[in-house]
Amino acid sequence: MADALLSVKGATKWFGALAATDGVDLDLYPGEIHALIGPNGAGKTTLIHQITGELTPDEGTVRFRGRDITRLPVHRRAMLGLARTYQVTNIFEGFSVIENVSLAVQARSGHSFRFWRRAATIRELYEPAMAVLALVGLADWSDRPAASLSHGDQRKVAIAMALAMNPEVLLLDEPLAGMGPRSARDLIDVLNGLRENHALLLVEHDMDAVFSLADRISVLVYGRIIASGRPEAIREDSAVMEAYLGEGEEAVGALETVPAKGTTCSV
Amino acid sequence: MNASLLIVQTLNGVQLGMMLFLMSAGLTLVFGIMNLINLAHGSLYMLGAYFAATFQKMTGSFLLGVALALPAVVLVGILIEVAVLRRLYDHDHLDQVLATFAMILFFNELVSILWGPQAYFMALPEGLGGTVELLPGIRYPAYRLAILAAGGVVALGLWYFIMRTRVGMLIRAGAANREMVGALGVNIRLLFTLVFGLGAGLAGFAGMMAGPILSVEIGMGESILILTLVVIIIGGIGSVRGAFVAAILIGITDTVGRVMLPPALASMSIYILMAAVLFWRPQGLFPAAT
């Protein structure tokens, strides 16, 4: 297999006496969708924060294309090609939809110490942004204030922003949360189409989506990866059954019928 | 510089530090618990001085004056909290700065209407007009020693109240973590009003103490307000212990600086100190919040 694009080794982050992530190893290869699942509070978001630089691990390293980026500031990592979305919708609500996305295009088109031309008239910002909006199905909404969009569409704006950064690695923190079934299906299709040019790390509670999209699944429980492998293997892994879903037989049923949210158990 | 001057100046510095502590203890708690910037804290200091001076004139006694002025200031503080500040807790800091800045304008003008624009004089308390010989050859005004003592007593009392009583514990918990106190089922509104009244009383008391040695005048609250803000920023917002350490530090730096440094640099010294502290410790010396 090719070298990992993104490689986390031994990432440990302490919150007081609690290890939110405890020696997590995780690799992400080009062209793969790697799903990270686990009960709430398992440390999934904390891990993403360490990958993007919003938190610095107390121990361990993060490498991107072989380069150690453990201590690199957030914006530098973003420029290297790491983009993320957030668990809670995190867009610029005071801006229009197109402005949100062009802001991300602008970030990767050189410095912004440009004071004269009106940003709204710059074709090189507008066109790529429109292209991404078309991809997520929001082209007709481009002039609307972002705050006026439905919750599901706001999440799509957030994903469009991440895509507009032209990243190699996309870290998606529960992209489907709070979306209606229709929007969710559309988005799953979009994500599916991304694997050609991107590596995706997908944190998601919707097991349907996880098992249909993921090439590989890692299970994080109490800050530790307890299993990692192909979806079929994870489905049959007894440790996962026990730790993640509680009791044995019930759990098998649960994984097969696929709960909408894997938040039911608190081991 | 000779030793006796240094001793006297250090005492003056500690005394200014005591004043600043009385001012900052209330303000830092209000800051920490209610997340409120209250620039009008200096107005309470000013009002304390005016009330005490007026009651002293009416009763002919400094102590009686203070005894009457203290509840009056607390009352004004509570009125302010209930009428205006309570509505500002949910607003951002900018709104709070503006509204309390507006309150300064209001109180300055109010004082000018009620007491007139000229400075007001407050007599030294009976029996404390002289000086005391601390060491052979070193004399120090008795009233200033009394301020030191009074400040010390209040500081100790406050320490006991904050550290050893149930209400004090709630206040401390609130300063470190606001949500937690709400989760404990405490009547937050009442706690806020209480803390604000306490802060008002302390600020007013500082004003009363300062009255006889400084002139009682409009705007007297502003210069000490800025020093107080510097103190709580250096100490760490919400930390009473930090406020105490920083108050003494600032008091001594300011006073001793005036003797040892050229005047312009002396006035700038505490701000340089603050900028330096924030440069290395952006949360102050004793960050209270976790």
Binding site: H75, E93 | V84, A275, L278
Partner: protein
């Protein structure tokens, strides 16, 4: 086309206001010219504050410091025999920009309350520094008995000529601010105000952008200081008093922050109110205080917000 129409209306209003202001000297009342000059200068200063406050989300309580640096540079150069506009103005703007660079580089490491307080502290530092300049009047400040000159016999000693210079400066500053706010830089600054963390995560080194914005704002305020020194013919530490910073902040909020016209309207309102109310009572602040509190509690968006309430502004 509706959009074009509004665009035109806006330009029309701008032109109309500028012409109205240009007509003030024809009233033949030196008092009005002086008052209008003062309003426009503070309008410029408030506008410069709004760039960091309303657009950049940086609550500075020390903006008068830059006004002061500009004015003091003008005064100090005057007392050393330098009156040429071509030297004094760039020097004053450069000095206040440099001050903003140093203050910003340290202050912008902090956020929230700490930022408010550290900007206040720096302004106090500059206040005491200027008050300590014994050679230039110390606490009392210094007089400047003739104004800057352009050379070739063209000076600013005529109040009307100075007024037109001030008006021109404000119009230019307004236009430049418009460009800045709509530019790529302006978009980044507005993005930072809205959500700084998100800006970082899409790849912007936000500190650099905030710092540059802070420097531009400080330099512009310094230029207002140059004009104020020329208008007053007098420069004292009172210019840098922290209540002055508070007043400039009030102007921005009163008029409507995050708009370009708001700060200028706010300056006009505050200074006119002062002028008119103080004619009735010397205690006019007793009304201003509660009024401001009401504006803060209920008047979101200031005067501009009042005029455009309910309409979406892009």
């Amino acid at each position: 086309m509706k959009g074009d129409f509004r665009f035109g209306k806006r330009h029309g209003a701008f032109l109309f206001t500028a012409l109205l202001l240009a007509a003030i000297p024809f009233m033949g009342e030196p008092f009005y010219v002086r008052l209008a000059s003062r309003i426009l200068i503070y309008g410029l200063c408030a506008l410069s504050l709004d760039l960091i406050l309303g657009y950049g989300g940086m609550v500075s309580l020390g903006h008068a410091a830059f006004l002061g640096v500009g004015a003091y540079t003008t005064g100090i150069l005057f007392h050393n025999g330098v009156q040429s506009v071509w030297i004094v103005w760039p020097a004053a703007v450069g000095m206040s920009g440099a001050a903003a660079l140093v203050i910003g580089a340290i202050s912008l490491r902090t956020a929230g309350v700490y930022f408010i307080m550290i900007t206040l502290a720096f302004a106090q530092m500059i206040f005491y520094f200027c008050a300590g300049l014994e050679a230039y009047g110390g606490d009392d400040g210094m007089a400047m008995w003739s104004r800057n000159t352009f050379g070739g016999g063209l000076d600013l000693d005529s109040p009307v000529r100075l007024y037109y210079i001030i008006l021109g400066a404000l119009v230019v500053a307004f236009y430049l601010s418009r460009r800045l706010v709509d530019s790529r830089f302006g978009r980044v600054i507005r993005g930072i105000r809205e959500n700084e963390g998100r800006m970082r995560s899409i790849g912007y080194p936000t500190f650099q952008y905030k710092l540059v914005c802070f420097v531009i704002s400080g330099a512009a305020a310094g230029f207002a200081g140059v004009l104020l020194a020329n208008l007053n013919g007098y420069i004292s530490p009172a210019l840098i008093h922290w209540t002055r910073s508070g007043e400039i902040l009030v102007m921005v909020i009163l008029g409507g922050m995050g708009t370009l016209i708001g700060p200028i309207l706010g300056a006009a309102c505050l200074l006119l109110a002062e002028e008119i109310l103080s004619g009735f009572t010397q205690h006019w602040m007793i009304f201003l205080g509660p009024l401001l509190i009401l504006v803060v509690l209920f008047g979101r968006g200031g005067l501009v917000g009042l005029a455009t309430r309910g309409r979406y502004r892009g």
